[in-house]
Protein backbone atom coordinates (compact mmCIF):
# COMPACT_ATOMS: atom_id res chain seq x y z
CA UNK A 1 0.00 0.00 0.00
CA UNK A 2 2.95 2.27 0.59
CA UNK A 3 4.00 2.05 -3.01
CA UNK A 4 1.99 4.76 -4.69
CA UNK A 5 4.11 4.73 -7.81
CA UNK A 6 1.90 2.45 -9.86
CA UNK A 7 -0.13 4.51 -12.23
CA UNK A 8 1.51 7.76 -11.28
CA UNK A 9 2.47 10.37 -13.78
CA UNK A 10 6.18 11.13 -14.00
CA UNK A 11 6.46 14.78 -15.02
CA UNK A 12 9.30 15.28 -17.47
CA UNK A 13 9.35 16.36 -21.08
CA UNK A 14 10.16 13.61 -23.53
CA UNK A 15 9.37 12.14 -26.89
CA UNK A 16 6.90 9.71 -25.36
CA UNK A 17 5.33 12.31 -23.07
CA UNK A 18 4.65 14.47 -26.09
CA UNK A 19 2.91 11.76 -28.04
CA UNK A 20 -0.83 11.92 -28.53
CA UNK A 21 -2.62 9.89 -25.85
CA UNK A 22 -4.76 8.22 -28.50
CA UNK A 23 -1.68 6.90 -30.20
CA UNK A 24 -0.26 5.81 -26.86
CA UNK A 25 -3.48 3.96 -26.12
CA UNK A 26 -3.35 2.38 -29.55
CA UNK A 27 0.28 1.52 -28.96
CA UNK A 28 -0.54 -0.16 -25.66
CA UNK A 29 -3.34 -2.19 -27.21
CA UNK A 30 -1.08 -3.16 -30.11
CA UNK A 31 1.66 -4.08 -27.67
CA UNK A 32 -0.68 -6.29 -25.67
CA UNK A 33 -1.90 -7.94 -28.85
CA UNK A 34 1.72 -8.52 -29.84
CA UNK A 35 2.53 -10.06 -26.46
CA UNK A 36 -0.33 -12.50 -26.78
CA UNK A 37 0.31 -13.21 -30.44
CA UNK A 38 3.90 -14.06 -29.73
CA UNK A 39 4.19 -17.83 -29.75
CA UNK A 40 7.85 -17.99 -28.81
CA UNK A 41 10.59 -16.15 -26.99
CA UNK A 42 11.70 -14.38 -30.17
CA UNK A 43 8.43 -12.57 -30.33
CA UNK A 44 8.70 -11.55 -26.68
CA UNK A 45 12.30 -10.46 -27.26
CA UNK A 46 11.07 -8.21 -30.06
CA UNK A 47 8.49 -6.75 -27.67
CA UNK A 48 11.19 -6.24 -25.05
CA UNK A 49 13.42 -4.41 -27.51
CA UNK A 50 10.57 -2.10 -28.45
CA UNK A 51 9.72 -1.56 -24.80
CA UNK A 52 13.32 -0.69 -23.97
CA UNK A 53 13.23 1.94 -26.69
CA UNK A 54 9.98 3.30 -25.29
CA UNK A 55 11.51 3.55 -21.82
CA UNK A 56 14.67 5.15 -23.17
CA UNK A 57 12.70 7.77 -25.09
CA UNK A 58 10.41 8.50 -22.14
CA UNK A 59 13.20 9.58 -19.79
CA UNK A 60 11.49 7.78 -16.93
CA UNK A 61 14.22 6.39 -14.64
CA UNK A 62 14.59 2.64 -14.95
CA UNK A 63 14.23 2.13 -11.19
CA UNK A 64 10.85 3.79 -11.29
CA UNK A 65 9.83 1.50 -14.14
CA UNK A 66 10.98 -1.58 -12.29
CA UNK A 67 9.04 -0.51 -9.24
CA UNK A 68 5.85 -1.04 -11.21
CA UNK A 69 6.70 -4.73 -11.32
CA UNK A 70 6.93 -4.90 -7.57
CA UNK A 71 3.23 -4.24 -7.30
CA UNK A 72 2.38 -7.38 -9.26
CA UNK A 73 5.26 -9.48 -7.99
CA UNK A 74 2.96 -11.70 -6.00
CA UNK A 75 0.79 -12.38 -9.03
CA UNK A 76 3.83 -13.15 -11.14
CA UNK A 77 5.33 -15.55 -8.62
CA UNK A 78 1.99 -17.19 -7.97
CA UNK A 79 1.25 -17.78 -11.65
CA UNK A 80 4.74 -19.07 -12.24
CA UNK A 81 4.56 -21.43 -9.27
CA UNK A 82 1.22 -22.86 -10.34
CA UNK A 83 2.53 -23.49 -13.81
CA UNK A 84 5.78 -25.02 -12.68
CA UNK A 85 4.06 -27.33 -10.22
CA UNK A 86 1.03 -28.47 -12.14
CA UNK A 87 1.97 -28.47 -15.78
CA UNK A 88 2.92 -31.87 -17.07
CA UNK A 89 5.26 -32.37 -19.96
CA UNK A 90 7.47 -34.88 -21.67
CA UNK A 91 10.64 -34.28 -19.73
CA UNK A 92 9.61 -34.73 -16.10
CA UNK A 93 12.20 -33.85 -13.45
CA UNK A 94 10.15 -34.54 -10.34
CA UNK A 95 6.72 -35.90 -9.60
CA UNK A 96 4.64 -36.30 -6.46
CA UNK A 97 0.90 -36.95 -6.70
CA UNK A 98 -0.53 -34.32 -8.95
CA UNK A 99 2.52 -32.14 -8.50
CA UNK A 100 4.88 -32.36 -11.40
CA UNK A 101 7.88 -30.33 -12.42
CA UNK A 102 8.68 -30.67 -16.07
CA UNK A 103 10.88 -28.89 -18.56
CA UNK A 104 7.83 -27.74 -20.49
CA UNK A 105 6.29 -26.40 -17.31
CA UNK A 106 9.38 -24.38 -16.46
CA UNK A 107 9.69 -23.00 -19.95
CA UNK A 108 6.01 -22.16 -20.07
CA UNK A 109 6.03 -20.33 -16.76
CA UNK A 110 9.15 -18.41 -17.80
CA UNK A 111 7.17 -17.45 -20.87
CA UNK A 112 4.24 -16.34 -18.73
CA UNK A 113 6.45 -14.32 -16.42
CA UNK A 114 7.92 -12.48 -19.39
CA UNK A 115 4.48 -11.81 -20.78
CA UNK A 116 3.15 -10.51 -17.47
CA UNK A 117 6.13 -8.28 -16.82
CA UNK A 118 6.06 -6.85 -20.33
CA UNK A 119 2.36 -6.22 -19.94
CA UNK A 120 2.67 -4.46 -16.61
CA UNK A 121 5.67 -2.38 -17.59
CA UNK A 122 4.10 -1.24 -20.85
CA UNK A 123 0.83 -0.31 -19.13
CA UNK A 124 2.61 1.64 -16.45
CA UNK A 125 4.66 3.39 -19.14
CA UNK A 126 1.36 4.73 -20.41
CA UNK A 127 0.44 6.16 -17.02
CA UNK A 128 3.97 7.38 -16.31
CA UNK A 129 4.04 9.42 -19.48
CA UNK A 130 0.42 10.46 -19.80
CA UNK A 131 -1.44 12.66 -17.35
CA UNK A 132 -4.82 11.39 -16.26
CA UNK A 133 -6.37 14.33 -18.05
CA UNK A 134 -4.62 13.49 -21.31
CA UNK A 135 -5.55 9.88 -20.86
CA UNK A 136 -9.21 10.61 -20.34
CA UNK A 137 -9.12 13.10 -23.20
CA UNK A 138 -7.72 10.33 -25.33
CA UNK A 139 -10.32 7.82 -24.21
CA UNK A 140 -13.05 10.40 -24.63
CA UNK A 141 -11.89 11.10 -28.14
CA UNK A 142 -11.69 7.41 -29.00
CA UNK A 143 -15.15 6.75 -27.57
CA UNK A 144 -16.72 9.83 -29.15
CA UNK A 145 -18.78 7.79 -31.64
CA UNK A 146 -20.72 6.38 -28.67
CA UNK A 147 -22.42 9.78 -28.16
CA UNK A 148 -24.52 8.76 -31.18
CA UNK A 149 -26.21 6.15 -29.08
CA UNK A 150 -26.73 8.70 -26.30
CA UNK A 151 -23.91 7.61 -24.03
CA UNK A 152 -22.59 10.71 -22.18
CA UNK A 153 -18.97 10.08 -23.07
CA UNK A 154 -17.54 13.34 -21.73
CA UNK A 155 -19.25 12.90 -18.36
CA UNK A 156 -17.77 9.42 -18.10
CA UNK A 157 -14.40 10.88 -19.01
CA UNK A 158 -14.71 13.46 -16.23
CA UNK A 159 -15.65 10.75 -13.76
CA UNK A 160 -12.60 8.77 -14.76
CA UNK A 161 -10.26 11.70 -14.57
CA UNK A 162 -11.42 12.51 -11.05
CA UNK A 163 -11.17 8.90 -9.97
CA UNK A 164 -7.59 8.84 -11.22
CA UNK A 165 -6.65 12.04 -9.50
CA UNK A 166 -8.15 10.86 -6.22
CA UNK A 167 -6.01 7.72 -6.11
CA UNK A 168 -2.97 9.34 -4.44
CA UNK A 169 -5.23 11.23 -2.03
CA UNK A 170 -7.02 8.07 -0.95
CA UNK A 171 -3.74 6.16 -0.72
CA UNK A 172 -2.42 8.78 1.65
CA UNK A 173 -5.62 8.67 3.60
CA UNK A 174 -5.41 4.88 3.94
CA UNK A 175 -1.92 5.23 5.29
CA UNK A 176 -3.08 7.86 7.75
CA UNK A 177 -6.01 5.78 9.00
CA UNK A 178 -3.78 2.75 9.29
CA UNK A 179 -1.30 4.70 11.38
CA UNK A 180 -4.08 6.13 13.51
CA UNK A 181 -5.47 2.65 14.19
CA UNK A 182 -2.00 1.35 14.98
CA UNK A 183 -1.29 4.25 17.31
CA UNK A 184 -4.39 3.32 19.27
CA UNK A 185 -3.31 -0.27 19.55
CA UNK A 186 -5.27 -1.64 16.63
CA UNK A 187 -3.91 -5.02 15.61
CA UNK A 188 -3.60 -4.68 11.88
CA UNK A 189 -0.57 -6.67 10.93
CA UNK A 190 -0.07 -10.37 11.25
CA UNK A 191 -2.58 -13.07 11.95
CA UNK A 192 -4.33 -15.45 9.60
CA UNK A 193 -6.34 -14.59 6.54
CA UNK A 194 -9.61 -14.11 8.41
CA UNK A 195 -7.93 -11.90 10.96
CA UNK A 196 -6.38 -9.86 8.18
CA UNK A 197 -9.70 -9.38 6.41
CA UNK A 198 -11.28 -8.40 9.70
CA UNK A 199 -8.53 -5.89 10.32
CA UNK A 200 -9.48 -4.22 7.04
CA UNK A 201 -12.90 -3.19 8.34
CA UNK A 202 -11.68 -0.43 10.66
CA UNK A 203 -9.64 0.93 7.77
CA UNK A 204 -12.22 0.64 5.03
CA UNK A 205 -15.14 2.12 6.91
CA UNK A 206 -13.51 5.47 7.68
CA UNK A 207 -11.92 5.49 4.24
CA UNK A 208 -15.25 5.08 2.48
CA UNK A 209 -16.93 7.62 4.72
CA UNK A 210 -14.24 10.17 4.06
CA UNK A 211 -14.36 9.43 0.34
CA UNK A 212 -18.03 10.33 0.34
CA UNK A 213 -17.33 13.53 2.22
CA UNK A 214 -14.58 14.38 -0.22
CA UNK A 215 -16.85 13.67 -3.16
CA UNK A 216 -19.44 16.00 -1.71
CA UNK A 217 -16.97 18.81 -1.26
CA UNK A 218 -15.41 18.25 -4.65
CA UNK A 219 -18.87 18.42 -6.18
CA UNK A 220 -19.40 21.80 -4.57
CA UNK A 221 -16.02 23.01 -5.75
CA UNK A 222 -16.87 21.89 -9.29
CA UNK A 223 -20.28 23.54 -9.18
CA UNK A 224 -18.70 26.72 -7.88
CA UNK A 225 -16.41 26.69 -10.88
CA UNK A 226 -19.34 26.55 -13.30
CA UNK A 227 -19.28 22.86 -14.09
CA UNK A 228 -22.42 21.72 -15.84
CA UNK A 229 -22.42 18.29 -17.34
CA UNK A 230 -25.02 19.18 -19.93
CA UNK A 231 -23.15 22.23 -21.16
CA UNK A 232 -20.61 22.28 -23.89
CA UNK A 233 -17.08 22.81 -22.62
CA UNK A 234 -13.98 23.84 -24.43
CA UNK A 235 -10.70 22.03 -24.05
CA UNK A 236 -7.50 23.81 -23.18
CA UNK A 237 -5.38 20.94 -24.35
CA UNK A 238 -6.36 19.99 -27.86
CA UNK A 239 -5.22 16.65 -29.18
CA UNK A 240 -3.18 16.97 -32.30
CA UNK A 241 -1.30 14.29 -34.16
CA UNK A 242 2.32 15.00 -34.98
CA UNK A 243 5.25 13.21 -36.58
CA UNK A 244 5.90 11.55 -33.21
CA UNK A 245 2.55 9.88 -33.40
CA UNK A 246 3.25 8.64 -36.89
CA UNK A 247 6.44 7.04 -35.59
CA UNK A 248 4.55 5.51 -32.66
CA UNK A 249 1.93 4.15 -34.99
CA UNK A 250 4.50 2.69 -37.35
CA UNK A 251 6.47 1.08 -34.53
CA UNK A 252 3.32 -0.52 -33.15
CA UNK A 253 2.35 -1.82 -36.58
CA UNK A 254 5.88 -3.07 -37.22
CA UNK A 255 5.91 -4.84 -33.86
CA UNK A 256 2.76 -6.80 -34.63
CA UNK A 257 4.02 -7.66 -38.10
CA UNK A 258 7.38 -8.66 -36.64
CA UNK A 259 5.84 -10.92 -34.01
CA UNK A 260 3.65 -12.64 -36.60
CA UNK A 261 6.69 -13.18 -38.82
CA UNK A 262 8.68 -14.56 -35.91
CA UNK A 263 5.83 -17.00 -35.21
CA UNK A 264 5.76 -18.17 -38.79
CA UNK A 265 9.50 -18.49 -39.27
CA UNK A 266 10.17 -19.96 -35.86
CA UNK A 267 11.15 -23.24 -37.46
CA UNK A 268 14.03 -21.59 -39.26
CA UNK A 269 15.47 -20.08 -36.14
CA UNK A 270 18.01 -22.07 -34.21
CA UNK A 271 16.73 -22.02 -30.63
CA UNK A 272 14.39 -25.00 -30.25
CA UNK A 273 11.67 -23.85 -27.92
Amino acid sequence: MKDVSFGQYYPVKSFVHNMDPRIKLFFLVAFIVAIFLAGNFYGLAACLVVLIFVIAFSRVPILKVLRAIRGVLFLVVFTAAINVLFRTGETVYWQYGILCVSKEGIVFSAFLICRLILLVVCSSMLTYTTTPVELTDGIESVLKPLTWIKIPVHVLADVMSIALRMIPVLMEETERIRSAQKARGGDIEGGGLIKKVRALVPILVPLILSAFRRADELGDAMDARCYMASKKRTKYKKLRLTWRDLIGFLVAAALIAGVVLLNVYEAFLWLPI
Binding site: P11, R165, P168, V169, E172, L218, A221, A224, R225
Partner: protein
Amino acid sequence: MNALELRNVKFSYGENAFAIENLNFAVKEGEFVAVLGHNGSGKSTLARLANGLLEADGGEIFVLGMPLEQKNLYEVRKNVGVVFQNPDNQAVASLVEDDVAFGAENVGLPREEIGARIDFALKAVGMEKERHATISRLSGGQKQRVAIAGVLALKPKIMILDESTAMLDPRGRREIIDVVLRLNKEEHITVILITHFMEEALLCGRAVVMNRGEIVMEGAPAEIFERHEELLTYNLALPRIGQICKGLREGGIAVEDTLDIEKLAEEIARCVS
Protein backbone atom coordinates in the same frame (compact mmCIF):
# COMPACT_ATOMS: atom_id res chain seq x y z
CA MET B 1 -22.77 49.47 -5.62
CA ASN B 2 -22.98 46.42 -3.44
CA ALA B 3 -21.03 43.49 -4.72
CA LEU B 4 -23.13 41.12 -2.68
CA GLU B 5 -26.30 41.71 -0.78
CA LEU B 6 -28.51 39.36 1.20
CA ARG B 7 -31.94 40.70 2.13
CA ASN B 8 -34.07 38.91 4.72
CA VAL B 9 -32.63 35.58 3.69
CA LYS B 10 -34.14 32.49 5.24
CA PHE B 11 -32.61 29.09 5.05
CA SER B 12 -32.82 25.81 6.87
CA TYR B 13 -31.17 22.41 6.51
CA GLY B 14 -34.45 20.78 7.55
CA GLU B 15 -36.70 20.62 10.55
CA ASN B 16 -34.99 20.92 13.90
CA ALA B 17 -31.76 21.57 12.09
CA PHE B 18 -29.61 24.63 11.76
CA ALA B 19 -31.48 27.55 10.30
CA ILE B 20 -30.98 31.11 9.21
CA GLU B 21 -34.04 33.13 10.14
CA ASN B 22 -33.52 36.55 8.74
CA LEU B 23 -30.12 37.42 7.44
CA ASN B 24 -29.18 40.82 6.11
CA PHE B 25 -25.68 41.31 4.88
CA ALA B 26 -24.09 43.56 2.31
CA VAL B 27 -20.59 43.87 0.94
CA LYS B 28 -19.48 46.84 -1.12
CA GLU B 29 -17.44 46.45 -4.26
CA GLY B 30 -13.75 46.31 -3.55
CA GLU B 31 -14.25 45.65 0.14
CA PHE B 32 -12.28 43.16 2.19
CA VAL B 33 -14.59 41.70 4.81
CA ALA B 34 -13.92 39.09 7.44
CA VAL B 35 -16.77 36.88 8.57
CA LEU B 36 -16.05 35.47 12.00
CA GLY B 37 -17.96 32.86 13.88
CA HIS B 38 -17.76 29.74 15.91
CA ASN B 39 -18.46 26.33 14.36
CA GLY B 40 -22.07 26.13 13.32
CA SER B 41 -22.58 29.87 13.29
CA GLY B 42 -23.73 29.79 9.69
CA LYS B 43 -20.72 31.39 8.08
CA SER B 44 -20.17 28.59 5.58
CA THR B 45 -23.87 28.51 4.81
CA LEU B 46 -23.52 32.18 3.94
CA ALA B 47 -20.80 31.34 1.40
CA ARG B 48 -22.88 28.59 -0.13
CA LEU B 49 -25.95 30.79 -0.41
CA ALA B 50 -23.97 33.57 -2.04
CA ASN B 51 -23.06 31.61 -5.13
CA GLY B 52 -26.10 29.43 -5.38
CA LEU B 53 -24.69 26.18 -4.05
CA LEU B 54 -27.58 26.35 -1.59
CA GLU B 55 -30.94 27.78 -2.46
CA ALA B 56 -32.47 30.19 0.04
CA ASP B 57 -35.94 29.39 1.34
CA GLY B 58 -36.88 33.03 1.37
CA GLY B 59 -35.56 36.53 0.91
CA GLU B 60 -33.42 37.88 -1.87
CA ILE B 61 -29.77 37.67 -2.81
CA PHE B 62 -28.17 40.15 -5.18
CA VAL B 63 -24.83 39.64 -6.83
CA LEU B 64 -23.45 42.77 -8.47
CA GLY B 65 -26.97 44.11 -8.56
CA MET B 66 -28.54 41.12 -10.28
CA PRO B 67 -30.90 38.91 -8.33
CA LEU B 68 -29.68 35.35 -7.84
CA GLU B 69 -32.10 33.00 -9.55
CA GLN B 70 -31.95 29.54 -10.98
CA LYS B 71 -31.70 30.89 -14.49
CA ASN B 72 -28.71 33.14 -13.95
CA LEU B 73 -26.87 30.76 -11.65
CA TYR B 74 -24.17 30.43 -14.26
CA GLU B 75 -23.57 34.18 -14.46
CA VAL B 76 -23.50 34.40 -10.68
CA ARG B 77 -20.96 31.61 -10.35
CA LYS B 78 -18.72 33.21 -12.91
CA ASN B 79 -18.64 36.28 -10.69
CA VAL B 80 -18.54 34.71 -7.27
CA GLY B 81 -15.57 32.42 -6.80
CA VAL B 82 -15.40 30.20 -3.74
CA VAL B 83 -12.28 28.65 -2.29
CA PHE B 84 -13.11 25.87 0.15
CA GLN B 85 -11.48 24.52 3.25
CA ASN B 86 -9.78 21.28 2.33
CA PRO B 87 -6.84 21.68 -0.03
CA ASP B 88 -7.22 18.06 -1.16
CA ASN B 89 -10.87 18.24 -2.13
CA GLN B 90 -10.94 20.97 -4.70
CA ALA B 91 -8.70 20.03 -7.56
CA VAL B 92 -10.29 18.08 -10.39
CA ALA B 93 -7.13 17.50 -12.34
CA SER B 94 -3.77 16.05 -11.40
CA LEU B 95 -1.65 18.82 -12.87
CA VAL B 96 -1.67 22.45 -11.77
CA GLU B 97 -2.22 23.82 -15.26
CA ASP B 98 -5.11 21.46 -16.04
CA ASP B 99 -6.85 22.26 -12.81
CA VAL B 100 -6.58 26.01 -13.27
CA ALA B 101 -8.01 25.56 -16.76
CA PHE B 102 -11.07 23.66 -15.48
CA GLY B 103 -13.32 26.62 -14.71
CA ALA B 104 -12.35 28.46 -17.86
CA GLU B 105 -13.10 25.33 -19.89
CA ASN B 106 -16.48 25.02 -18.24
CA VAL B 107 -17.59 28.43 -19.41
CA GLY B 108 -16.49 27.61 -22.93
CA LEU B 109 -13.68 30.10 -23.45
CA PRO B 110 -11.52 29.75 -26.55
CA ARG B 111 -8.19 27.98 -26.12
CA GLU B 112 -5.94 31.02 -26.41
CA GLU B 113 -7.98 32.87 -23.81
CA ILE B 114 -7.75 29.93 -21.41
CA GLY B 115 -3.98 29.93 -21.84
CA ALA B 116 -3.81 33.64 -21.10
CA ARG B 117 -6.00 33.21 -18.03
CA ILE B 118 -3.82 30.42 -16.69
CA ASP B 119 -0.81 32.71 -17.07
CA PHE B 120 -2.62 35.51 -15.29
CA ALA B 121 -4.01 33.35 -12.48
CA LEU B 122 -0.80 31.51 -11.71
CA LYS B 123 1.14 34.74 -11.72
CA ALA B 124 -1.35 36.35 -9.37
CA VAL B 125 -0.85 33.59 -6.80
CA GLY B 126 2.89 33.29 -7.42
CA MET B 127 2.82 29.75 -8.78
CA GLU B 128 4.10 30.26 -12.35
CA LYS B 129 7.00 27.92 -11.70
CA GLU B 130 4.72 25.08 -10.64
CA ARG B 131 2.59 25.25 -13.77
CA HIS B 132 3.39 21.69 -14.82
CA ALA B 133 3.70 20.27 -11.31
CA THR B 134 1.60 17.47 -9.86
CA ILE B 135 -0.88 18.86 -7.37
CA SER B 136 -0.67 15.96 -4.94
CA ARG B 137 3.01 16.73 -4.37
CA LEU B 138 2.48 20.38 -3.40
CA SER B 139 2.26 21.74 0.14
CA GLY B 140 -1.11 22.63 1.64
CA GLY B 141 -0.54 26.33 1.11
CA GLN B 142 0.46 25.76 -2.49
CA LYS B 143 -2.59 23.57 -3.11
CA GLN B 144 -4.82 26.33 -1.80
CA ARG B 145 -3.05 28.85 -3.99
CA VAL B 146 -3.78 26.58 -6.97
CA ALA B 147 -7.42 26.50 -5.86
CA ILE B 148 -7.41 30.31 -5.76
CA ALA B 149 -5.85 30.39 -9.22
CA GLY B 150 -8.58 28.01 -10.46
CA VAL B 151 -11.18 30.46 -9.24
CA LEU B 152 -9.26 33.46 -10.60
CA ALA B 153 -9.21 31.94 -14.07
CA LEU B 154 -12.92 32.72 -14.21
CA LYS B 155 -12.10 36.39 -13.46
CA PRO B 156 -14.62 36.71 -10.65
CA LYS B 157 -15.51 40.07 -9.13
CA ILE B 158 -16.05 38.52 -5.73
CA MET B 159 -14.01 35.89 -4.01
CA ILE B 160 -15.20 34.03 -0.94
CA LEU B 161 -12.69 32.09 1.11
CA ASP B 162 -14.64 29.61 3.16
CA GLU B 163 -12.17 28.81 5.94
CA SER B 164 -9.56 28.28 3.28
CA THR B 165 -6.78 28.72 5.78
CA ALA B 166 -8.18 26.44 8.48
CA MET B 167 -6.26 23.34 7.48
CA LEU B 168 -2.95 25.05 6.78
CA ASP B 169 0.14 25.60 8.87
CA PRO B 170 1.02 29.20 9.83
CA ARG B 171 3.22 29.61 6.80
CA GLY B 172 0.54 28.37 4.41
CA ARG B 173 -1.98 30.68 6.07
CA ARG B 174 0.31 33.65 5.59
CA GLU B 175 0.75 32.74 1.90
CA ILE B 176 -2.98 32.68 1.31
CA ILE B 177 -3.66 35.90 3.18
CA ASP B 178 -0.89 37.69 1.29
CA VAL B 179 -2.32 36.52 -2.00
CA VAL B 180 -5.88 37.65 -1.27
CA LEU B 181 -4.71 40.96 0.16
CA ARG B 182 -2.86 41.60 -3.07
CA LEU B 183 -5.78 40.50 -5.22
CA ASN B 184 -8.01 42.87 -3.32
CA LYS B 185 -5.62 45.77 -3.72
CA GLU B 186 -4.35 45.19 -7.26
CA GLU B 187 -7.18 43.39 -9.04
CA HIS B 188 -9.91 45.12 -7.00
CA ILE B 189 -11.57 41.84 -6.23
CA THR B 190 -14.07 41.98 -3.43
CA VAL B 191 -12.94 39.49 -0.80
CA ILE B 192 -15.06 37.82 1.85
CA LEU B 193 -12.78 35.99 4.22
CA ILE B 194 -14.58 33.46 6.36
CA THR B 195 -12.34 32.41 9.19
CA HIS B 196 -12.02 31.63 12.83
CA PHE B 197 -8.52 33.02 13.09
CA MET B 198 -8.88 36.40 14.70
CA GLU B 199 -5.43 37.48 13.51
CA GLU B 200 -6.64 37.28 9.94
CA ALA B 201 -9.60 39.49 10.70
CA LEU B 202 -7.22 42.23 11.81
CA LEU B 203 -6.08 42.62 8.20
CA CYS B 204 -9.56 43.22 6.87
CA GLY B 205 -11.34 46.52 6.44
CA ARG B 206 -14.47 45.32 8.16
CA ALA B 207 -15.41 42.36 10.29
CA VAL B 208 -18.74 40.68 10.82
CA VAL B 209 -19.44 38.24 13.63
CA MET B 210 -22.03 35.52 13.12
CA ASN B 211 -23.71 33.44 15.76
CA ARG B 212 -26.53 30.93 15.24
CA GLY B 213 -27.31 32.15 11.79
CA GLU B 214 -27.42 35.81 12.71
CA ILE B 215 -25.05 38.70 12.35
CA VAL B 216 -24.43 39.84 15.89
CA MET B 217 -21.53 42.26 15.55
CA GLU B 218 -20.29 44.38 12.72
CA GLY B 219 -17.63 47.04 12.36
CA ALA B 220 -13.95 47.73 11.99
CA PRO B 221 -11.86 44.88 13.46
CA ALA B 222 -10.46 47.19 16.14
CA GLU B 223 -13.98 48.13 17.25
CA ILE B 224 -15.05 44.54 17.42
CA PHE B 225 -12.09 43.38 19.42
CA GLU B 226 -12.68 46.15 21.93
CA ARG B 227 -15.88 44.38 22.89
CA HIS B 228 -14.08 41.26 24.05
CA GLU B 229 -16.60 40.31 26.73
CA GLU B 230 -19.26 40.14 24.07
CA LEU B 231 -16.99 38.15 21.76
CA LEU B 232 -16.51 35.56 24.48
CA THR B 233 -20.26 34.94 24.63
CA TYR B 234 -20.08 33.89 20.96
CA ASN B 235 -17.25 31.50 21.75
CA LEU B 236 -14.70 33.66 20.01
CA ALA B 237 -11.35 34.61 21.46
CA LEU B 238 -9.34 37.76 21.01
CA PRO B 239 -6.39 37.77 18.67
CA ARG B 240 -3.13 36.94 20.42
CA ILE B 241 -2.19 40.59 20.83
CA GLY B 242 -5.54 41.41 22.39
CA GLN B 243 -5.10 38.53 24.83
CA ILE B 244 -1.70 39.89 25.79
CA CYS B 245 -3.18 43.35 26.49
CA LYS B 246 -5.88 41.82 28.62
CA GLY B 247 -3.41 39.63 30.48
CA LEU B 248 -1.12 42.55 31.18
CA ARG B 249 -3.98 44.59 32.62
CA GLU B 250 -5.09 41.72 34.80
CA GLY B 251 -1.52 41.43 35.97
CA GLY B 252 -1.54 45.05 37.07
CA ILE B 253 0.14 46.72 34.09
CA ALA B 254 -2.45 49.19 32.90
CA VAL B 255 -1.83 49.22 29.16
CA GLU B 256 -4.38 50.70 26.77
CA ASP B 257 -6.13 48.25 24.46
CA THR B 258 -4.42 48.12 21.11
CA LEU B 259 -4.07 45.74 18.19
CA ASP B 260 -0.85 47.22 16.95
CA ILE B 261 2.37 45.58 18.08
CA GLU B 262 4.44 48.77 17.95
CA LYS B 263 1.83 50.60 19.98
CA LEU B 264 1.68 47.86 22.54
CA ALA B 265 5.46 47.99 22.92
CA GLU B 266 5.25 51.72 23.57
CA GLU B 267 2.39 51.19 26.02
CA ILE B 268 4.36 48.62 27.96
CA ALA B 269 7.40 50.90 28.03
CA ARG B 270 5.21 53.76 29.30
CA CYS B 271 3.61 51.67 32.04
CA VAL B 272 6.80 50.06 33.24
CA SER B 273 8.93 53.18 33.37
